[in-house]
């Protein structure tokens, strides 16, 4: 097990080195002639008006929240599924109760329009 994680760590480092090497190579090969117009923000040729860092609508936050809840749910589903063969039939109904309670949440969000993209 330990050597597996050691491998993952080293793999990550090498994976990180791919883009770094690419950018380094581009530094050496690519021309660099900066200019004010060239480096302006690209909005299809129009002058930019206002800042891009604006306030976003709450809809995104609601999506993220529903996502977190269901993500946590799946984390509980995985050990259940893996251990399922060793568990009695009761485990199925225990999980169905768990899913139904969260299903109420999904139905509630649906009915309240939290799943609508405005």
């Amino acid at each position: 097990m330990g050597e597996n994680w050691a491998f993952v760590a080293i793999f990550s480092i090498i994976a990180l080195s791919i883009p770094l090497l690419g950018i380094l190579a581009a530094r050496l090969l690519a021309p660099r002639r900066p200019g004010a117009i060239k480096q302006s923000t690209y909005e299809c040729g129009l002058e930019t008006i206002g800042d891009a860092w604006i306030q976003f609508k709450v809809q995104y936050y609601l999506y993220a929240l529903i996502f977190v809840l269901f993500d946590v749910e799946t984390v509980f589903l995985y050990p259940w599924a893996v251990a399922y063969n060793a568990l009695p039939l009761l485990a199925l109904f225990e999980m169905i109760v768990f899913l139904l309670i969260l299903g109420i949440g999904l139905v509630y969000a649906w009915r309240k329009g939290a799943l609508e993209w405005i």
């Binding site: 491998f7 883009p19 581009a26 529903i66 269901f70 799946t74 995985y78 999980m95």
Partner: protein, 419 residues
């Protein structure tokens, strides 16, 4: 070279530790630990090189396939059949000027482009190309893969925010909302497979689909979990933002989405990451549903595992290209509704039904198991059609967020599947 690897791989650590301790390069009990490090570096380099070449030719393959589908030739000028095209593209990317907009938050902007690659590559660490050609057979391999995939939203966010461009930020927000929405059906769709296999280890998942499988031997999970497989495929297409789910970079709406401001090699990195995840997602799909490195038929037992695995992966890569060549892009509200109102409920029902069936068919002969799953899946499809029909009747046909031509196509696909 590939074939020699399995032999070398199993004893690489041992051989290296002998070598290091023999030459007394390092003192004490260190040799073994250092052997692990050196062996890991070697393995990682080899795997990344293989994957990198695969990625380069996936770009070529995609352009060829889409070209043929659109009655064009695709790249054919650079080298034989255009085979040198990926290298020409690489040189072009490297020699193009790399622009950083003045408005951008320099650090976040550059880091976004750099960090977009690792999540796409690290997933390969747990992909089993062959029984012994797996880098890290983590006991939680499948979960690890999805966990790494889920981190890909961070560089997207960094790219969009760091660019300080309205379209880039909007694209990033859309992309993140989409990726997280489709992550739920994606991870839920494979719970059915986990119920059957009882393990998260990639090798374990493959073995359980082979003749030595514990519970249901010799059957690929795509035959027991067809609905799960379709959900996995759709959710993965959205997760890796390929057409028809590429709304974050819909050029008709928001220029190029979160990578609007990137040029030269930094744009190339986004392109690179897209093809890396296409391959890795196909490989994991092949492991979970198509039996991984197990040969497709019993008489092919002599076939090396990596041949089967590569063939299956390429089939799935082709399916992704096919989808891109065939389907038009969805609208953003359709897209979100599809994840939460269609895919998530179906996958929840599918996993409950699968849980029930696994307990029911324990000890049945293989044909009975297969029949039970087939009946259940057909029943679920019919139920779904009935629900959709009722829904459409109540809300009026045009009110549904699905347009008519798509409905006809979907109906035809379902009829074809049921027949």
């Amino acid at each position: 070279m590939l074939h020699a690897l399995p032999l070398a791989e199993t004893s690489l650590s041992g051989w290296l530790s002998g070598l290091i301790s023999g030459h007394a390069l390092l003192p004490g009990e260190a040799p073994l630990a250092w052997a692990v490090v050196i062996a890991s570096i070697l393995k990682a380099t080899v795997i990344i090189l293989i994957v990198q070449i695969g990625m380069l030719y996936a770009t070529w393959g995609e352009r060829k396939v889409i070209g043929r589908m659109q009655d064009r030739l695709g790249p054919n000028r650079v080298g034989l059949f255009g085979l040198a095209q990926p290298f020409a593209d690489m040189i072009k990317m490297l020699t193009k000027e790399d622009i950083t907009p003045t408005a951008a938050h320099k650090w976040v902007y550059n880091l976004g482009a750099i960090l977009v690659v690792p999540p796409a590559v690290i997933g390969f660490a747990v992909v089993a190309l062959d029984r012994h050609l797996i880098a890290a057979d983590l006991s939680v391999g499948a979960l690890f893969f999805f966990a790494i995939g889920s981190t890909s939203v961070m560089p997207i966010f960094m790219a969009g925010w760091g660019s300080r461009n309205k379209y880039a930020l909007l694209g990033a927000m859309r992309a993140v909302a989409q990726v997280v929405s489709y992550e739920i059906p994606q991870v839920l769709s494979i719970v059915g497979v986990l119920l059957l296999a009882g393990t998260l280890s990639m090798n374990g998942l493959v073995i359980s689909q082979g003749p030595l499988g514990d519970a249901f031997p010799g059957v690929w999970y795509v035959f027991l979990q067809p609905i799960g497989f379709i959900i996995f495929l759709l959710a993965t297409t959205a997760e890796i933002e390929r057409t028809p789910f590429d709304i974050p970079e819909a050029e008709s709406e928001i220029i190029a989405g979160y990578h609007t401001e990137y040029a030269g090699i930094k744009f190339g990195l986004f392109y690179l990451a897209l093809y890396f995840v296409t391959i890795s997602a196909s490989a994991v799909g092949a492991i979970l549903f198509l039996g991984g490195w197990q040969p497709p038929f019993g008489f092919m037992a002599g076939l090396p595992g990596w041949v089967s695995m590569t063939a299956k992966t390429l089939v799935l890569v082709f399916v992704f290209m096919w989808l891109r060549g065939t389907l038009p892009r969805l609208r953003v509200d359709q897209l979100m509704a599809f994840a939460w109102k269609v895919l998530v409920p179906i996958s929840l029902v599918n996993l409950m039904v699968t849980g029930f069936l696994v307990k029911l068919v324990a000890g049945w002969p293989p044909l009975g198991v297969f029949g039970a799953f087939a009946v259940a899946n057909v029943a679920m499809v019919l139920l779904l059609l009935w629900l959709v029909a009722g829904w459409r009747r109540r809300s009026g046909a045009r009110q549904m967020s699905f347009d008519r031509p798509r409905d006809i196509a979907a109906g035809a696909a379902v009829r074809g599947g049921a027949a």
